[in-house]
């Protein structure tokens, strides 16, 4: 039967049985540490971006990733897509044009209003008839349905 080992009964050493450091190690260690200290100008730089050196590498990487992604997001947001001119703005500018001028333009410019144009116009803004016509939407729809399918000049 092996005798149980008891730590309290074992003579305690001040530290594990390890060979001491080389001779003169502690005499030279302070100078070696001082030689590795950051220089004064590096300490001054700490007020700028030097604080980053105090962060862990993982945190620095995360901050850099956030900065890059933020740059992309900002470029998309600021670039954006061109805003569509709202139909209200278009009709508002047309509203400012006297009706007689509109009719004259349509009669003399050679512009041909075709059934497809009317279909697109009414589909985009079903209420547009209220600004230009004195007919109800149902009456206009019936009139359009009665027209032949091939394109024709209406004015």
């Amino acid at each position: 039967m092996k005798p149980s080992f008891k730590l309290d009964a074992h003579p305690r050493r001040p530290h594990p049985p390890l060979s001491g450091p080389p001779a003169g190690y502690f005499d030279h260690l302070p100078m070696r540490v001082m030689a590795r200290l950051p220089r004064a100008d590096a300490r001054e730089a700490a007020s700028g971006w030097g604080w980053l050196a105090f962060l862990s590498p993982a945190l620095r990487t995360g901050l850099a990733s956030v900065a890059v992604l933020g740059g992309f997001a900002a470029s998309f947001y600021l670039g954006g897509t061109p805003r569509l001119v709202p139909s209200a703005a278009g009709t508002a500018s047309l509203d400012a044009v006297p009706r007689t001028e509109l009719v004259g333009y349509l009669l003399t410019s050679g512009a041909r209003v075709e059934s497809a144009d009317l279909a697109v116009l009414t589909a985009a803004n079903p209420g547009v008839a209220k600004g230009f016509w004195h007919a109800s939407e149902d009456e206009l729809t019936d009139a359009l349905d009665a027209q032949p399918s091939e394109d024709a000049t209406y004015l």
């Binding site: 092996k2 149980s4 594990p16 450091p21 502690f26 302070p30 540490v33 950051p38």
Partner: protein, 213 residues
């Protein structure tokens, strides 16, 4: 006597501050107290000398605290220097809510645990392999030659998890009070007592099982 003095050394000695270079014939000036070191460190003109004093005062304790954890002298040397570099960087912001040496010990402890953790992750070594690697270094050390029980004891200690081994070293070798150990490790006194108790049991069981008849 004046010929023994390099320029500036006599002035520094008169101030009670140990210069970086000192004639071996001259007695070392008395060490500064912690509050004196902190006060001189705040002054840019005396910062380097104050820090030199701090290193000389605590280098032995820091070195052996680190060496007990990492075993290898070269690793301990690197880590000891890293500890004092960090002390230099953060001493200005030291709030003095704990004793200076407790704060330095805490930095040294974290450096050791980070080193051992990164070593394990770097080489994908499980806990027991790291312990075996450290044990092999102790076995090769001539200081333990011929002392079988001491060798088994060291093997048992190195098999403990890093944090538990740290607690064991602080209590068994440094005889640190649990209250101070709590400040160093950031762990409660009760948890530390339990950890040390279990560590002792593990060590005793290992040595009993593995010692010769």
């Amino acid at each position: 006597m004046d010929r023994l003095f390099a320029p500036g050394i006599k002035r520094d000695l008169c101030r009670g501050v140990q210069p970086d270079t000192c004639s071996p014939l001259l007695p070392r000036p008395p060490r500064l107290e912690d509050h004196e070191i902190l006060l001189k460190f705040q002054d840019p003109a005396s910062r380097n000398l104050a820090f030199n004093q701090l290193v000389r005062k605590y280098q032995g304790k820091v070195y052996w605290h680190v060496r007990k954890m990492v075993v290898d002298h070269d690793d301990a040397d690197d880590l000891t220097q890293d500890v004092f570099i960090k002390v230099w960087k953060h001493l200005e912001n030291f709030r003095q809510d704990a004793a200076l040496f407790t704060w330095i010990y805490r930095i040294a402890t974290n450096e050791c645990l980070n080193f051992l953790g990164s070593k394990r992750r770097k080489f994908l070594l499980p806990l027991t392999d790291v312990g075996a690697e450290l044990a092999a270094k102790i076995e090769a050390d001539p200081a333990v030659a011929g002392d079988e029980i001491e060798l088994k004891l060291q093997q048992a200690i190195l098999r403990l998890p890093d944090k538990q081994r740290l607690v064991f070293n602080l209590r068994y070798y440094d005889e640190m009070p649990y209250e101070q150990m709590a400040e160093v490790t950031g762990t409660s006194v009760g948890a530390l007592k339990a950890s040390y108790h279990h560590a002792v049991k593990k060590v005793e069981d290992y040595v009993t099982r593995n010692s010769a008849e």
